[in-house]
């Protein structure tokens, strides 16, 4: 059983950045049968998606989110000693894209920067990792970036995935705070489902696949659906138990925005009030793990009078699933922006604008 309560961390700020380009699912030029599209849109609940321009990566989106956040917080660059980039759409296999981001952000040499390869479950896992770095790893300030560009790994002619997935980047600033309430985590894996969401080719198992479709995401929709129904309600129950609170004691449940139909089913099954389950899937699509944090910045008010107890829920590729129950202090800054390549990158920019 993987449950942990970790004290001593505070979320200082959360920043999200999405592409400015919008694709409307009901547009004529997507090349799909309109009746089929309407059915998918009805079930999944995605009306519009944010899609990067060619050449823009998750790192670009996360850089802009992080730069905006660091300026807002006024953090000295050399005070950030941990930089974690949680992604399954890195710029490179090698080096960690976090190293490039480290350069762009102008962080000091006294910084541990690395990638973590998780997707849908990335946000609770990323928070957990940052929490351990603060609590036991000697850090005082950690930046956890979580970004994905699923639009770049779904086949343009695959209706099931093209109409669902969207892009986003984020940055969460965490700092050591001995008086802060504990954060609670439940983290799980079922590797027997690893082929349910997979890009088979391009990496080292098969660098040059014979079937070019192996360079795109393959998704077993029914299998993933089944997994979600089976695993997420117990996850919510276990996370509440670990946090020592009841279902009504949580102010907002931030779900990975996988599919509206499944989220509504999970809400009913877990007895969650609709008012406590904000959704952004309609106009932000399923942007993978970062959909949790996009929902946070888009739906929680910039001005909050009191601390809010949040449950973040990530579930999917791996199969991996996790929950984090954290208190968001009223002082935490929440930022959201469309990507504009507004900020200069320190050092030589290899990618991006």
């Amino acid at each position: 059983m993987s449950r942990h309560s970790i004290e001593g961390l505070r979320i200082a700020g959360v920043s999200t950045c999405v592409p400015a380009r919008i694709e409307n699912n009901l547009a004529d030029d997507l090349g799909f049968d309109p009746d089929e599209v309407r059915k998918v849109v009805q079930m999944a609940g995605v009306r519009e998606r944010r899609v990067v321009e060619p050449g823009t990566t998750a790192a670009d989106l996360c850089f802009e989110a992080a730069e905006a956040l660091l300026r807002e917080l006024g953090w000295e660059r050399d005070s950030v000693t941990g930089l974690v980039f949680v992604t399954q759409s890195p710029d490179y296999f090698l080096p960690s894209t976090a190293c490039m981001l480290h350069q762009w952000l102008g962080l000091s040499d006294d910084c541990a920067a690395f990638d973590m390869g998780l997707g849908c479950s990335g946000y609770p896992y990323g928070l957990y990792l940052a929490a351990t770095m603060l609590k036991a790893g000697g850090h005082r300030r950690v930046l956890m970036l979580h970004g994905e560009t699923p639009s770049r790994f779904v086949a343009p002619d695959d209706q099931a995935t093209r109409l669902l997935f969207s892009d986003a980047g984020s940055a969460t600033a965490l700092e050591l705070a001995p008086d802060a309430p504990a954060a609670h985590f439940c983290l799980h894996t079922d590797g027997s489902g690893h082929a349910g969401l997979i890009i088979r080719g391009g990496a080292f198992r098969d660098r040059t696949p014979a079937d070019p479709r192996d360079l795109w995401l393959r998704m077993d929709g029914a299998g993933v659906f089944n997994f979600t129904i089976k695993r997420v309600p117990p996850l919510i129950r276990d996370a509440l138990e670990q946090a020592g609170c009841g279902v009504d004691d949580v102010d907002a449940y931030l779900f990975h925005q996988s599919n509206r139909f499944i989220m509504k089913h999970l809400m009913k099954k877990a007895g969650l009030s609709e008012a406590k389950v904000p959704m952004t899937i309609e106009d932000h699509g399923n942007c993978g793990g970062p959909s949790v944090v996009v929902t946070l910045t888009r739906c929680l008010g910039a001005e909050r009078g009191a601390a809010q107890r949040l449950m973040m829920l990530g579930y999917g590729v791996g199969l991996s699933w996790g929950a984090a129950v954290v208190e968001l202090p009223p002082s935490a800054r929440l930022l959201h922006r469309d990507y504009s390549a507004a900020f200069p990158r320190q050092g030589a920019p290899e990618a991006g604008a």
């Binding site: 079930m43 077993d220 929709g221 029914a222 089944n226 129904i229 089976k230 499944i262 099954k269």
Partner: protein, 83 residues
């Protein structure tokens, strides 16, 4: 768990796949139900879970060839009163 008659079960199956009630009979094959496509399969998974707390493994779902197989599942799980 609610215990249905055969007729109630057939009506429920028709609702899941958004088919007119009279179209669904015990011998109806999956291929004869337009609503039992990939999205219909998702609706079925959710409906089994919500109404009967039944979760089927992926291969069991894929192995359903028609209404008769679905009725067998309901019967085995105690959701169907009569053969």
């Amino acid at each position: 768990m609610p215990n249905m008659t055969l007729q109630e079960a057939l009506t429920w199956i028709a609702e899941v796949f958004e088919e007119p009630a009279g179209r669904i009979v015990r011998d109806t094959k999956r291929s004869e139900i337009p609503g039992w496509d990939s999205l219909g399969t998702l609706s079925l998974i959710a409906a089994l879970d919500e109404r009967f707390d039944i979760q089927l493994a992926e291969d069991a779902i894929e192995g359903l060839r028609g209404v008769a197989d679905l009725l067998d599942v309901l019967r085995e799980r105690g959701a169907l009163a009569e053969a």
